[in-house]
């Protein structure tokens, strides 16, 4: 009986041995012939391990959006913009390792706005710390200050999401305005109402994450005088011009310190210096 069992087992083993296990072989890379693909590979994929998706693939954008792909002719300029206003300023501010470590593995490029079914527009978004989607790229014009500002705010806003999705928010951030987050009702708020709640924009009131991302995004793209006077300077409450927003500005001052410390202590980046580099580059390129 033992022999029978042995033979049965032997037979079954035979039946499982007809497939060879071979180690994973990386598929050979296709030689790039397209000039845009080549440029993006050499300037962003090779050094920063980031694939720029510009040829349309609807797997990268939700079917709920009404969108178009980007123009081919603007893709190298868009890549230059990413380098000039995003990668290089971080490197110049001492954050080369930070950029290599945190730069998103994927940037998805969309030509049009992301039209939602309710008629609103989504400016851009970050997915799970790995992908940033940039929109309205077909309006590329480095001399159009409002377009550039909108793009850079989106880039730095979404990149901030990538950072906090990995490292969390600055300690103490989420309790500062926790009773003031409004979810989707942000659209009904005026900017002053947001400042009164200790946030830099009405969109920032939608959640603690948007609060942080918008704070950094707006900080990095706003000149010091404007940012300080609008968000950080307490007004004389006896003045006839007093706008009643000091309580919010006190919260914003605390958030400002938390942001400075977050980038300095975690990544060794002086975010004020980073802001100055970005603004200088904006001035040099836009005008």
């Amino acid at each position: 009986m033992k022999n029978i069992l042995f033979l049965l087992l032997f037979g079954l083993l035979l039946s499982c041995s007809n497939e060879d296990i071979t180690p994973y072989q990386r598929e050979p890379e296709v030689e790039l012939t397209d000039e845009v693909d080549k440029w993006l590979y050499e300037n962003l994929q090779q050094p920063y391990n980031c694939v720029v998706r510009w040829k349309w693939d609807d797997n990268y954008v939700s079917i709920n959006y009404y969108v178009t792909p980007p123009r081919k002719d603007i893709m190298i300029p868009v890549g230059e913009m990413i380098k000039t206003f995003w990668v290089e300023p971080f490197i110049e501010a001492g954050g080369e390792d930070f950029i290599i470590e945190h730069f998103p593995p994927e940037i998805v490029c969309v030509g049009s706005p992301l039209y939602n079914s309710d008629g609103t527009i989504t400016a851009g978004y970050a997915d799970s710390g790995v992908r940033i989607t940039l929109t309205e790229l077909n309006n590329y014009d480095l001399h159009d200050e409002s377009w550039v500002l909108s793009q850079l705010q989106t880039i730095h806003h979404e990149f901030t999401h990538i950072v906090h999705q990995r490292h969390g928010l600055p300690e103490g951030w989420e309790v500062l305005s926790e009773e003031f987050y409004t979810g989707n009702s942000w659209i009904n708020l005026e900017e002053d109402e947001a400042i009164a709640r200790g946030m830099v924009s009405n969109y920032a009131t939608s959640s603690k994450y948007e609060d942080f991302a918008d704070f950094v995004g707006i900080f990095l793209t706003t000149d010091e005088t404007t940012f300080t006077s609008k968000y950080l300077t307490l007004m004389d409450e006896t003045s006839s011009d007093y706008d009643g927003l000091n309580a919010g500005r006190e919260i914003l001052l605390t958030k400002y310190d938390l942001m400075i410390n977050y980038y300095k202590s975690n990544f060794g980046i002086d975010i004020v210096e980073l802001r100055d580099i970005i603004l200088q580059r904006m001035e040099d390129n836009i005008n």
Binding site: N3, I4, L7, G11, K55, D57, T68, P69
Partner: protein
């Protein structure tokens, strides 16, 4: 022996088990992956095969005709696209090269991978009843049918207005667009400009009303009386190619051509049919496309004939009782007369409008609201015996409103902020008028003769800045014609502009009321006048008594 038999049996069973084939039985010779790859290669080969590429006529919506696109697919993954200009959308003729691929998601599909002519259609704003809709340009197409001579592409992402692009092999001459823009321009010049449908297709024993669009490349052709349908066309250098063939008796119109001498279009496939003007139609319309059609059909869709007409004989028109035309750019309101039972008409926020509105045929009209129409100069009222309420606000070019012919049932009149320099209102004879209010300067006259039911007559200046002082910067009312305490016996509230405090009729009305001891709330400007507290002076100058 038995033991050996059992052993052999066990070996046999285990071997049988080892040989059991759990794999599915393939119906085809290749795996699905291989077959899909083969299909993709096969489609790609068909696309890249023609020496001169493919030609089709693209439109992103089914109520606009086609515009030529030529496609030369390259094996390097790029396609050269040449497109005809799309004048109505300000899209220029051009040639461009973009990446393409054939892939498979749910269906085999052709994707133009970066922005190109198809995505430009995406940015077009098409006017709709509720505003504008986006262009629906498609850059991902399902490969519906692929043969060596024809490819049928279906828009992939459209949920409702699904469009098709038919591609045929192009000739080298198809890439030459010379002459197309001239033909296109000639066709645009043929466009029907009248609100009345005043053209017909005539020939081969038939006559059908037709509306022709040169810009958006369609014809709307009458079917049976009260029916119409839209037929799209594209153009070559010499012809109109009907994307939807027009039935004509027992024949079909498949192509048309432009007749430069007669300045019209005619069938080009052996039928003696051409488009002609019908002069009689202007005098006696059968179909029309009023500018308020979107608003009308939003609430009364059944009045529509075909995509854009009203048939004047449609019994559904008699069911329309209300029409609101708001915030639009109109220059003609013709067509109101075909709404015989219209009871309420609101015309509001028209930025550029016909200088006149004629509602004299709307005999059932009860309520007329005309607000914020900067260019409106006149309303023709006629004899509207059922009119009860008139509201006029901010129509600065309108100087006169004479309601004498339609005052039988008029109960309520309001005119605010019209700001003309010589505004006059005549409601004399309005025996049922109980409420009259106007807040504005610039009066020439107000006649309320015979308004015996009037209870409130409230005339303020248009000053809103100072609660106690009238704006006297422009001429204001100095007296009210027909104001008489023996006629307006029910009048208990009388507000007059400060400029009118010395008007003879007004002073007499005040004195008569005081003599009768009538309870009258009277103000000039923002000052209260009380006969019982004004024993010595003509009027006191008390500020408004908030009690």
């Amino acid at each position: 022996m038995i033991k050996r038999f059992v052993l052999l049996w066990a070996v046999a069973v285990s071997c049988l088990l080892a040989c059991e084939d759990n794999e599915p039985e393939y119906l085809f010779d290749e795996s699905p992956e291989t077959r899909i790859a083969q299909k993709i290669n096969e489609y790609s080969d068909v696309l890249t095969a023609p020496e001169n590429g493919w030609i089709g006529y693209y439109t992103s919506v089914n109520n606009v005709g086609g515009f030529a696109v030529l496609l030369k697919f390259g094996e390097d993954g790029n396609v050269t696209i040449k497109n005809e200009a799309v004048g109505f959308a300000n899209i220029a003729e051009k040639e461009e090269t973009v990446p393409w691929r054939v892939g498979v998601t749910q269906h085999p599909e052709l994707v133009f991978e970066s922005a190109c002519i198809f995505t430009e259609w995406h940015g077009i704003a098409f006017e709709t009843a509720s505003g504008y809709s986006m262009g629906g340009g498609e850059f991902q197409f399902v490969l519906e049918s692929v043969t060596d001579d024809q490819i049928i592409l279906r828009s992939k992402t459209d949920q409702t207005d699904i469009t098709y692009l038919y591609l045929r092999r192009a000739e080298s001459t198809d890439w030459d667009f010379r002459g197309m823009s001239d033909l296109s321009e000639n066709l645009i010049n043929l466009e029907t400009k009248s609100i009345v449908v005043n053209h017909k297709l005539v020939g081969d024993g038939l006559e059908k009303f037709v509306e022709f669009s040169g810009r958006e490349r369609y014809l709307v052709v009458e079917g049976e009386l009260g029916e119409a349908a839209l037929y799209r066309y594209a153009i070559s250098r010499t012809r109109l190619i009907m994307l939807d063939t027009i039935p004509w008796g027992d024949k079909m119109i498949t192509e048309m051509e432009y007749d430069a001498q007669a300045r019209t279009i005619k069938a080009a496939n052996g039928l003696a049919v051409q488009m002609e003007t019908d002069a009689e139609a202007e005098k006696n319309p059968t179909y029309l496309s009023p500018q308020f059609l979107p608003e009308l059909t939003t609430t009364n869709p059944e009045v529509l004939t075909g995509p854009s007409w009203i048939w004047v004989g449609n019994p559904e028109l008699a069911k329309v009782e209300s029409l609101e035309v708001m915030i639009k750019n109109y220059d003609d309101f013709y067509g109101l007369e075909f709404l015989p039972n219209l009871k309420s008409l609101t015309i509001m926020g028209i930025l550029a409008t016909d200088s006149k509105i004629d509602v004299s045929k709307n005999k059932k009209l009860k309520r007329l609201t005309v607000m914020i129409n900067p260019l409106l100069t006149h309303i023709t009222l006629g004899n509207l015996e059922e009119l009860e309420e008139v509201i006029l606000t901010s129509n600065p070019m309108m100087k006169e409103i004479d309601l004498r012919s339609c005052c039988k049932n008029l109960k309520d009149f309001r005119a605010h902020m019209c700001h003309p320099t010589d505004f006059s209102v005549n409601v004399s004879g309005a025996k049922n008028l109980t409420y009259f209010a106007a807040q504005q300067n610039g009066w020439t006259s107000l006649d309320i003769t015979g308004c015996t039911a009037l209870e409130k007559l409230l005339i303020n200046s248009d000053s809103e800045d100072d609660a106690s002082v009238d704006d006297t910067s422009t001429s204001t009312l100095e007296d009210i014609i027909g104001l008489d305490a023996s006629v307006q016996k029910r009048l208990t509230e009388l507000f007059i502009p400060t400029s009118a405090v010395n008007g003879d009729n007004i002073k007499k009305f005040y004195q008569d009321c005081k003599a009768e001891g009538r309870n009258l709330l009277m103000m000039h400007g923002h000052s209260l006048i009380k006969p019982e507290t004004d024993p010595d002076n003509m009027y006191n100058d008390n500020t408004y008594d908030h009690e």
